[in-house]
């Protein structure tokens, strides 16, 4: 929510130290945060831009990403009610899951937020990050940058230095939020959006949070660079969904990291459908005994999209469980990269960890799926397994379906929906599931094999 005209330096392309300072003073930030941004800026400047020679970027070419071309900050009009939001955003809200709290970040600023009385009465806080800095500074100061620090990588450094907007969710001890909480990041200018999501779920609390990214159609490249920090207390439950459905001009970078309390459960779902290039790091820290992390992923790449997921199941404490399933479909000339690591630290005995990545190639020889599952086990009493498959749709399977009168395009659709069903059937959110089904159907279009009509 803007109070005053943004300084000139925020309206010119590229990010400099001046931009970072201007953001801090424009936002009237406390000294520690201003200092943190500068520290992050120095980290960003010191870190080289990743290239194909870096192990973690071997298959994802970002040499075209020119951060200096993007506007660092774009204001947005405030909305008094949901009815004032852009029509496209209203449509997203309507088609989405029912929610008990809602926040819309329009470009670099929060345009609208709402928390149902029933939820706020229980002490739940859901607001933009700058409001949280004023009203809950202690919690924010303790947790922000704790899981995605500025030295995590080049993009995390930039996000720490130049973030704007962002959201803060706090669920007090023992509070069960039944209806999901939702945020939308909406971009309709050629520029950049750098939100930070901070979620703190206290002991014994329970909540579902859906973070969705979408934009208006545009030609010139835009830049999205986020960081998500999820703190889940003892015995608490968090279901976190990241749904990336940018238009094709957007380059998307995001790092999602979680910290799990004793006997807590975190279910994450990371969906990548849109953008030109998408790189998401998803790291679950099994940081306390008995913690449990389910990590689901769904991606569907078409045309010349590049969708890249790097995951880590970081078993630090004993008796923890993690189960990862990432499934992706590829058509046309797209590229999908999955690189997953299960790391079991020396003290993490009785770890139970699974990792599966499956790719389905749809009627093309030009798509490229990279699947790199890895284990690094430093304890001796553990159960771990990993697996990975990449294959074409089986023509015998299609023949079987078609032999029952089902036309080819319909049969292909059944196979693809069946393939993703293993992931979507594990999500207890009806509205979200329907949204995903529609998106998958749209991606399949009129069938994926090029045929002469």
């Amino acid at each position: 929510m803007q109070q005053k005209e943004a300084p000139e330096v925020l309206k010119s392309r590229g990010i400099t130290e001046e931009t970072v300072k201007a953001l801090s003073s424009y936002k009237d930030e406390p000294g520690w945060l201003a200092e943190k941004r500068l520290q992050a800026w120095r980290a960003f400047e010191a870190l080289p831009m990743p290239t194909l020679r870096d192990e973690a970027w071997r298959y994802t070419d970002i040499s075209d990403v020119r951060i200096e071309d993007f506007l660092p900050y774009a204001p947005s009009p405030d909305a008094e009610s949901e009815g004032d939001l852009p029509d496209a955003v209203q449509r997203l809200i309507k088609e989405g899951e029912e929610n008990s709290a809602l926040l819309v970040q329009h470009n670099s600023e929060t345009a609208y937020s709402r928390v149902d009385d029933e939820v706020s009465r229980k002490g739940v806080v859901f607001t933009d990050l700058h409001t949280a800095l004023r009203e809950h500074e202690d919690v924010v100061r303790e947790k922000l940058f704790g899981l995605v620090p500025e030295d995590y990588d080049k993009f995390a450094a930039l996000c720490a230095a130049g973030f704007a907007g962002g959201s803060f969710l706090y669920v007090p001890r023992g509070v069960d939020v039944e209806v999901p909480i939702q945020s939308y990041r909406w971009l309709d200018v050629v520029g950049s959006i750098m939100p930070r999501t901070l979620v703190v779920v206290e002991e014994g609390a329970s909540v579902t949070y859906i973070d969705e990214y979408a934009s208006a159609t545009a030609e010139d490249p835009a830049f999205s660079n986020g960081a998500v920090e999820l703190y889940v207390g003892e015995g608490a439950n968090l279901r976190y969904v990241s749904l990336q459905n940018w238009e094709r001009n957007v380059l998307h970078f995001n790092t999602i990291r979680s910290q799990a309390g004793k006997d807590s459960t975190i279910n994450s779902l990371v969906v990548a459908l849109g953008s030109q290039l998408s790189r998401t790091n998803v790291e679950a820290g099994l940081t306390a005994p008995g913690s449990d992390s389910e990590m689901l992923g769904l991606y569907f790449a078409d045309q010349n999209q590049v969708l890249d997921h790097h995951t880590l199941q970081d078993h630090i404490s004993p008796n923890a469980h993690s189960d990862l399933l990432y499934k992706g479909a590829l058509r046309d000339e797209s590229v999908a990269v999955f690189s997953g690591l299960i790391r079991v630290e020396p003290g993490a005995q009785k770890t139970d960890a699974y990792q599966t990545n499956r790719n389905l190639i749809l009627g093309t020889d030009d798509a490229f799926a990279v699947s790199l599952p890895n284990l690094e086990i430093m304890a001796d009493d553990v159960k771990c397994s990993h697996g990975s498959t990449t294959g074409q749709v089986d023509d015998v399977e299609l023949f079987y379906l078609m032999s029952r009168g089902i036309p080819r395009a319909e049969a292909e659709k059944l196979v693809v929906f069946g393939f993703f069903g293993e992931v979507t059937s594990r999500i207890p959110l009806r509205g979200l599931k329907e949204k995903l089904d529609r998106a998958i159907e749209g991606k399949i279009g009129l069938g994926f094999e090029e045929r002469v009509a």
Binding site: G405, I406, G418, F419
Partner: protein, 250 residues
């Protein structure tokens, strides 16, 4: 109903069917018996339009129409059905969803959801299947017997004019065989024809054929009534080879 003439089929360059001919009339049940490797399964797959086989010569007509250029779904919509020997597993697609999609694909008008539900329940009862079966993923983790029952269930739902049954009896115990046969007999009538492809005559005790053909080395070498099946049971396939082996080579 079905007319096959001089059918030659290759897979990966090897010829499997070498000039096979067969005519099946309306309302008739034909059994095709033969030893392993005689080309029985190739015949059933080719009739349905399997993509991995090459038809090099001959014709297949169904209800007076040349089906050779038709895709499997088009053949199915004409009224052809194949009960597979090894049905594919399709993870993530439930039996109910599959049946709904299939039935609505062959019908001119879509069936209302309630009617569809009732129809599925009714046919599952005939096949002595647990109603929960409809929610399982298609053939995934099914036992051999469950897969075969599921094939016949699909046949009952689609009500084809011609059913080709590729070794539906293999691997079934006597109870399952009776249930499967009951399913086939359910459809039996003047408008329904079937080609039962089998190694053993056991299934023919439950589904009585009008005609029996013996297949050897890619051709039908002899045909007769149901007695031929009994004769075959007595004398074994070695007798067929001795009697007709030279004919098959010529």
């Amino acid at each position: 109903m079905l007319k096959i003439d001089n059918l030659h089929v290759e897979i990966e360059g090897g010829e499997i069917l070498k000039g096979l001919g067969l005519e099946v009339g309306k309302g008739e049940i034909h059994a095709i018996m033969g030893p392993n490797g005689s080309g029985k399964s190739t015949l059933s797959n080719v009739l349905m339009g399997h993509p991995r086989y090459d038809v090099t010569d001959g014709t297949i007509e169904f209800m007076g129409e040349d089906v050779m250029e038709l895709e499997a779904d088009e053949r199915a919509r004409l009224g052809m059905f194949l009960a597979f020997q090894y049905p594919s597993e399709v993870p993530g697609v439930s039996v109910a969803n599959f049946l709904r999609t299939a039935v609505n694909s062959v019908r001119e008008k879509e069936l209302a959801p309630m009617e569809m539900y009732r129809l599925i329940q009714e046919k599952m009862k005939i096949m002595q299947m647990d109603p929960k079966f409809a929610e399982r993923y298609l053939n995934e983790g099914f036992s051999g017997g469950e897969k075969k029952r599921n094939e016949i269930l699909q046949m009952l739902m689609l009500e084809p004019k011609l059913a080709i049954m590729d070794e539906t009896d293999s691997g079934l115990d006597i109870d399952a065989l009776q249930v499967v046969s009951k399913g086939v007999n359910e459809l039996r009538g003047p408008e329904f024809s079937a080609v039962i492809i089998t190694h053993y005559q056991r299934i023919l005790r439950y589904i009585e054929p009008d005609h029996v053909h013996v297949m050897l080395d890619g051709r039908i070498v002899t045909s007769g009534g149901k007695d031929l099946a009994l004769q075959l049971e007595d004398k074994g396939y070695d007798w067929v080879r001795q009697e007709f082996g030279s004919a098959a080579q010529s």
